[in-house]
């Protein structure tokens, strides 16, 4: 692949990226969340079409017309979320849509099982082709995906974070299989966050940052630190407002928040007027921690204190009543009722504050919403306008207005700037600072390192469901934070074994 570029509305996802695979090679692709790894692989898979650039397969230029065409050309992708049919057998999944038939159109089961046995033989596993997918566990499911790719005569297999759901010994077995594939002449494009694994399994690595290729090199020439250095250190394009680090009294304290398989012993506190950043990779458990704190999920243990006193948070209703707001990442899906008006959406959090004998006092609500809509600069023809008819940026603001009209002590923002343009980002930063200045504590989950390092007065780094390190503003470099987030910090080395617990 050479000179690949791709833009999405508002973002340039890839800028003239080159990537190549030799026969029997494992070529790793690394980068921060949003660096463009998945976009590049989706172009290779024919899911997206590149705006610019060429794709060459075995000396001939090809123009992917869709996923099916690329599969026929020998490219198979194993996505992070497995795409198998849970209640069909291993064999049926491998041959889905291509079942061997006998005369009369009946499925030739014997042939199917025999073929699958042959496909699976090199893996040296005890896997019954008749077993149902849902019963065999993630490691075997992945093997089934690989076998399916081989049955499609794939020369190139793309693996997106294949080890994420696997335990230690399963990872070893997967690597053995990958080595097997290599010696059989299959090439593997390997996307992973786990740099130590990459050293174990890959021959070369390409580092992407902000849609640009930083380096492609043999892994024997690069240390883990080198790779991290290439991943971070983005050129600053954002304007960050000046944030005062004058924190007031403690308003929120969380002690020992634990949920099996999600997070372990998470403790932290937040003060009035401060912005507390949660750094880490997608999947580290930050969103889940906040959902536990917000009562959206039930925690196993852990205590929550607000304004010095322990509070009972067993539902989102408890959380909101005690003064916690959560602005979710998926704002359209989780923050809005698209078919309702700006008024209804904005008032969803405050109806309980404005009722007399069960009747809503609409004039009060209208007044508060009108003020908020004005101060946030939401552009809408009227408050009765359905939210689905607003522009994306204005929809974002309706989510904010819905929480700002209810005066909370703690505002949790989950990836507040993901997928929005630079101008809108600056506005959101300003709003966060002004909330903090009014005495609220702001918690900000962000996978954008420069953002979280510039905005937060303190940063907590989460890895595998634990807080692994804490830095004050200016105490850490991006390399340090990224290294902690990847689980490479001194503290986390000991915890590496707990990763399996996530499965």
């Amino acid at each position: 692949m050479s000179g690949i570029s791709k833009s999405f509305p508002g973002v340039k996802a890839l800028k003239r990226v080159d990537y190549d695979l030799s026969r029997g090679e494992v070529h790793a692709l690394v980068g921060e969340n949003g660096a463009g790894k998945s976009t590049l692989m989706k172009i290779l898979a024919g899911v997206y079409r590149a705006d610019e650039g060429e794709i060459w397969l075995k000396d001939s230029k090809i123009t992917p017309t869709g996923p099916r065409a690329m599969i026929n050309a020998g490219v198979s992708v194993i996505y992070q979320e497995l795409t198998l049919v849970p209640y069909l057998s291993v064999a049926e999944n491998i041959f889905l849509g291509r079942e061997p038939r006998r005369a009369g159109g009946l499925i030739d089961w014997k042939k199917m099982w025999a073929d699958v046995g042959e496909l699976l033989a090199p893996f040296n596993l005890s896997l019954n082709p008749r077993a149902r997918i849902h019963a065999i566990g993630p490691a075997y499911q992945q093997v089934v995906e690989i076998a399916k790719a081989l049955s499609l005569k794939a020369d190139i297999i793309v693996m997106d974070e294949p080890t994420a759901p696997l335990t230690g010994s399963e990872v070893d077995r997967l690597f053995e299989i990958i080595r097997n594939l290599k010696s059989g002449g299959v090439s593997v494009a390997y996307i992973s966050h786990r740099l130590e694994e990459i050293h174990e399994v890959a021959d070369r690595v390409t580092v992407l940052r902000d849609g640009e290729r930083m380096i492609t090199a043999a892994l024997s020439d690069l240390t883990v630190d080198d790779i991290i250095r290439h991943m971070v250190g983005r050129t600053l394009t954002e304007q960050y407002p000046k944030v005062e680090d004058s924190a007031g009294e403690e308003v929120l304290r969380v002690e020992g928040l634990t949920k099996r398989g999600v997070c372990t012993d998470v403790s932290f506190s937040a003060r009035r007027g401060e912005i507390l950043g949660f750094a880490g990779l997608v999947g580290a458990g930050r969103t889940e921690i906040m959902q536990l704190l917000f009562g959206y999920r039930r925690r196993d243990s852990g205590r929550i204190f607000l304004r010095g006193a322990e509070v009972r948070v067993r539902s989102t209703r408890d959380a909101v009543r005690s003064g916690i707001a959560l602005i979710p990442e998926e704002r359209k899906k989780q923050g809005l009722v698209l078919g309702l008006s700006v008024m209804d959406n904005s008032a969803l959090t405050i109806f309980d504050l404005h009722t007399t004998l069960g009747f809503i006092r609409w004039p009060d609500i209208a007044q508060r919403v009108t003020e908020m809509v004005r101060s946030l600069g939401i552009r809408t023809p009227s408050l009765r306008q359905e939210v689905k008819n607003l522009s994306g940026g204005n929809q974002q603001k309706v989510v904010l207005s819905k929480w700002f009209v209810r005066n909370c002590d703690v505002y949790i923002f989950d990836e507040p700037t993901r997928g929005i343009d630079v101008g809108a980002k600056a506005e959101i930063y300003k709003l966060m600072v002004s909330l903090a200045n009014k005495g609220a504590a702001i918690i900000m989950i962000s996978s954008d390192l420069p953002e979280v390092m510039n905005m937060a007065s303190r940063i907590l780094v989460v890895y595998a469901g634990r807080i692994v390190s804490e830095y004050r503003r200016g105490e850490a470099t991006e390399e340090q934070v990224m290294s902690d987030a990847l689980g490479l910090g001194a503290q986390t080395a000991a915890d590496a074994g707990t990763q399996g617990a996530r499965e």
Binding site: F294, Y296, S315, T316, R317, A319, V320, R321, L326, P328, K333, Q334, G335, L336, V337, L338, G339, L340, D344, A347, L348, T349, F351, D352, T355, G358, F359, I360, W362, K402
Partner: protein
């Protein structure tokens, strides 16, 4: 001008259809537009119309209640039995309502806490409530009432039949609840996006339960009217009513996927079904054909609704 016409069709299509059908009936049958007949149509519509008002709440949350016909039967049978046993009118009305609330509450709790699909829960309740009715009545109607109970179905206030008054009051109260109370606003919001509602600090399960209770209450109200009107509680009363009830809501423009619709639409939907039933009887159309026509109208109404949803 042309654009305005399509918009009018989209917003008021069902009202226009209703007017056209009424006009056609007036031309075809001299009896149709007489005071007696119109009162008859509305009175007949009010039985399932009241239930359709409750059903509107359920469907607005994206749910469904198949058990309304059976709840009607069970509430009617027990009330009739107790009435025969000498209970007064006020306890009888309360008894019916408590039965409706109980069935609705059971539906709601199984759906929210039990996490079972509304279709399945209310299908089960449909069977259970019908069975309770048959057990209680041993399969025989309970009939022959006297005094004030007969007023519920047959009485008039200022020459307005009492069932019609109840029906219209129900519509107005429902409209007030839907627009002026939290129950109402959350009902729309839950149907639009339940996850958002939960993440807004609202106990969505509570409000989802409430709508099934409302549906149970309206079924019990219809039970009292029907039992009084027929002067008999039949063990098979209300069988198949859920179809006319759901049809009235859907024809009235409430989206089966929830979040969109109004109780005024349901009023029109119920009247439309009433007019069709009445009209085909007046025209002497065989009942075998009546179901066919009703089926076509239900499908047509949903098609119309799809047109409305698609952007102009």
């Amino acid at each position: 001008m042309k654009l305005d016409l399509t918009r009018i069709l989209r917003s008021y299509g069902i009202v226009i259809a209703f007017i056209i059908i009424c006009a056609a009936m007036t031309v075809l049958s001299p009896v149709f537009l007489t005071v007696t007949n119109v009162r008859n149509v509305i009175r007949q519509s009010s039985i399932f119309g009241i239930m359709a008002v409750g059903m509107t709440f359920v469907i607005l949350t994206g749910g469904i209640d198949l058990s309304v016909g059976s709840i009607l039967a069970v509430a009617g049978a027990f009330s009739a039995g107790m009435l025969k046993g000498g209970l007064g009118i006020v306890p009888i009305v309360l008894l019916a309502l408590v039965l409706g609330i109980g069935c609705g509450l059971a539906n709601g709790l199984l759906i929210t806490i039990g996490r079972i699909a509304p279709f399945v829960v209310t299908l089960g309740m449909m069977s259970i409530a019908r069975s309770l009715t048959l057990i209680y009545t041993k399969g025989y109607p309970i009939s022959g009432f006297t005094g004030s109970f007969r007023f519920i179905g047959g009485g008039e206030i200022l020459s307005m039949p009492f069932p019609i008054i109840v029906f219209l009051l129900t519509v107005v109260v429902a409209w007030l609840i839907l627009t002026q109370t939290r129950v109402g606003r959350y009902t729309y919001a839950i149907g639009g996006n339940e996850e958002t509602v939960k993440l807004s600090g609202i106990n969505a399960d509570f409000y989802k339960t409430v709508v099934y209770v409302i549906s149970g209450i309206t079924a019990a109200m219809s039970a009292l009217i029907l039992t009084s009107r027929l002067n008999s509680a039949e063990p098979v009363a209300g069988q198949g009513y859920e179809l006319d009830v759901i049809a009235a809501v859907v024809i009235g423009g409430t989206s089966l996927s929830g979040g969109r619709g109004s109780v005024w639409g349901t009023l029109i939907g119920a009247l439309l079904i009433g007019v069709i039933n009445n009209g085909m009887n007046l025209l002497g159309i065989s009942p075998y054909f009546q179901l066919l026509v009703k089926g076509l109208i239900i499908i047509g109404a949903v098609l119309l609704d799809r047109l409305r949803q698609e952007p102009a």
